[in-house]
Amino acid sequence: MTLLDRHGFRPDPFRRLPAAEIAGHPAVIVPLADVQAGLLVRALGQRIGIDIANTLPAEDATAFANQVDLIAIAFPGFADGRGFTLARRLRRAGFRGILRAVGPLIPDQFAYAMACGFDEVELPDAVATRQGEAAWLADLAIYSTSYQRDYARGQNILEARREARTGGAT
């Protein structure tokens, strides 16, 4: 798998392991079923993430959200947009850790994913190689503006209009 954030491809500091095997690893992602066990044996400074399905109700994730460092939401296919809504709900519930989208997304969804609260995308290697890093970064650049307020994305057109009306005064 290939990890990507807004600066491009980068090494993944997290390893996927069951809770019983996390000792000695600085950053791990455990299955959802292992989250309690993982938190119990967590070492000082050890970072723990969890894998969740995009069908998990946001309320069920908020129970442990403030104790984990990363939540990885699965995208079974790029056309399944449920992960965008789940990310949005987790951010609204106050999750401040790393949000990761995992699956065969396409570069043309990168700006959308970031706007919904994701920090990074974990792609199958073959997909990452075929699509190329440049296409992902280009998508962020070409969505420099947006109409929706309250999403984390570029310049908001409504705010820009307001500034233009008031001559830039805030």
Partner: protein
């Protein structure tokens, strides 16, 4: 009408550049066909039977003369010098080359147009009453809110990969001419019974296709500043919970049907309760900015029914018939909205040539403040015509073959492109429409029959809205033959209803006679002044069913 500011213009230019790059990445193999497909669809590009089709958005059916001229030019340069207006107020070009699409999108951007979200599993082009802003029965002009929704729904980060397509329609009038009850969301501008303030009544879960349903009320009164937050909440519930296991069960109507409207409403309200409407809604200054674009034009002070009009009508029966049939009451004295029928006898419904587009653009400049509307019934409207100029207008239209006096009559047939163009179709639609129009062409016969909506779809996806036709015709394929199923009693307006199937499917050549038999029942049994659809409601389907099937049984015997 709305004009792009620097931000809108830059946004649309960025999308053109983005799509050009996507096409290049597809050609280079960086994107697979599966990955490219939703990107092409969200830019309006379909692969049809014989060629690519480009569907261009005409937001809430409002066009300027300048825009229509550009569409005429695109038709000439890149298609076969004609275009096709659709039941969602859009325009389709049916003979496009994929390589030309970026150039066409750039030409559209030059006149503040685009093809964004005219297809794909996203929030589609917002539609509205074609008489918005001029109808005498209007509480409020729906175009400002339709424009607000257009902007809010454009490239929405959370709602661009929905379970299925999502259609929103808005009306501000007492009579629903936008078919809001058969949209995923229907908005009606209403007055609060106590405070008198205007807001929205919200319908959800209407739709046609293989499971036709009439929308259900999810909110009786939504205050205006809550609109975008409420839409966000509703879309979020749908995006999270709409079915993705079966594309035929993925529309929001199925979710509403399966969990029930009460449970759906509870979920939307619970989501809405967690949102801060004022952080999501455009502020008052922005709403005001949009509203000012829709301020009425500089109307002259005139009287209704001026002597010049009366004289011309008295002297010219054909003109008189056209005014009576295609005219629509305007809220300003001395003006009239008029429907330009794209249903000339024997023509393909909704088609217009580039020359026709130029003529309409010129006449809009001369007689209608440069503005044109597109109707969901696949006609055009000039919304602001002085009554004392109607005769000149009619002359010019007649010379261009655009003065057919059949708005709302039996030959004003809605038809999808059908098997002549569409890759999904199971039967042809256009030849059925042509045969029926030819059969009932005589003007006196049409007048005698009165208002009647025949709607034809060439497959179960129901782009021709057959479920809500007073008479609906659905083209299917049965053992390699085209077979047409007839429904009766549908209605797209205030008394919205899904038509009932009358009997077994018919061969194409049997359809006109079958319609004759239904009309005979109506003409025999109607009460004075009673419309076809009202007779069907009063009499029930049985007498029609009996007449419809009598002949078939006779044939079989």
């Amino acid at each position: 009408m709305y004009r792009y500011d620097e931000f809108d213009a830059a946004f649309v230019r960025d999308r053109v550049a983005q799509f050009s790059a996507q096409v290049q990445r597809r050609l280079a193999g960086a994107l697979t066909e599966d990955e490219f497909k939703p990107l092409r669809l969200q830019n309006g590009v379909y692969l049809q039977l014989h060629a690519y089709m480009l569907r261009i958005a005409i937001p809430y059916g409002t066009l300027s003369a300048r825009q229509l001229r550009q569409l005429a030019l695109i038709g000439e340069r890149f298609d076969r010098s004609y275009g096709h207006f659709t039941t969602r107020q859009n325009l389709q070009f049916n003979w496009i080359q994929l390589k030309d699409v970026p150039e066409i999108l750039a030409l559209l951007a030059d006149v503040e147009m685009h093809a964004i979200q005219t297809s794909g599993n996203c929030i589609r082009n917002v539609t509205a009453d074609q008489f918005a802003g001029v109808a005498a029965d209007e509480i409020e002009d729906p175009r400002p809110v339709a424009e607000l929704i257009r902007q809010w729904s454009t490239a929405h980060p959370e709602f661009s990969f929905l379970p299925r397509k999502f259609k929103i329609a808005v009306t501000g009038a007492a009579e629903d001419r936008a078919a809001v009850s058969v949209h995923d969301i229907g908005l009606r501008i209403v007055r609060h019974p106590e405070t008198g303030e205007t807001g929205y009544a919200v319908l959800v879960g209407g739709g046609l296709g293989r499971t036709p349903m009439v929308g259900k009320w999810v909110r009786d009164f939504l205050p205006k500043p809550h609109l975008l937050a409420y839409l966000e909440a509703l879309m979020r519930v749908y995006n999270a919970e709409g079915r993705r296991d079966n594309k035929y069960k993925a529309r929001v109507k199925i979710l509403v049907h399966e969990i029930g409207i009460e449970a759906f409403r509870d979920r939307v309200e619970a989501e809405f309760a967690q949102l801060d409407p004022l952080r999501i809604q455009a502020d008052a200054a922005e709403v005001g900015r949009i509203e000012r674009y829709f301020a009425p034009p500089a109307y002259a002070e005139l009287q209704d029914n001026p002597p010049a009009l009366r004289r011309a009508r008295a002297a010219n029966p054909e003109f008189d018939r056209w005014v009576a049939q295609n005219g629509f009451p305007h809220k300003v004295p001395g003006y009239q909205a008029v429907t330009l029928s794209l249903k000339g006898i024997g023509e393909a419904p909704g088609d217009i040539t580039s020359a026709g587009m130029r003529l309409v653009a010129e006449l809009a400049d001369r007689h209608s403040f440069g503005e044109i509307r597109v109707t969901h019934a696949q006609n055009l409207v000039l919304p602001n015509v002085r009554q004392d100029e109607l005769f000149d207008l009619w002359h010019a239209l007649a010379a261009g073959g655009l003065a057919t006096a059949n708005a709302g009559l039996i030959t004003d047939i809605i038809a999808c492109p059908g098997l002549d163009y569409c890759a999904l179709a199971t039967a042809r639609s256009i030849p059925i429409a042509q045969a029926l129009a030819t059969r009932f062409a005589a003007p006196d016969r049409q007048q005698e029959i009165g208002p009647l909506a025949i709607k034809i779809s060439g497959c179960i996806n129901a782009c021709g809205h057959h479920h809500v036709g007073h008479i609906g015709i659905l083209g299917l394929e049965k053992r390699g033959e085209e077979s047409y199923q007839i429904t009766l009693g549908g209605d797209a307006g205030n008394a919205s209803a899904i038509g009932e199937i009358l009997g077994p499917g018919l061969g194409a050549d049997e359809v006109p006679d079958a319609i004759e038999r239904l009309l005979a029942v109506y003409l025999d049994h109607r009460q004075p002044g009673e419309l076809f659809v009202d007779s069907v409601r009063r009499l029930g389907i049985q007498p029609f069913k009996a007449a419809f099937n009598a002949e078939l049984r006779h044939d079989a015997a």
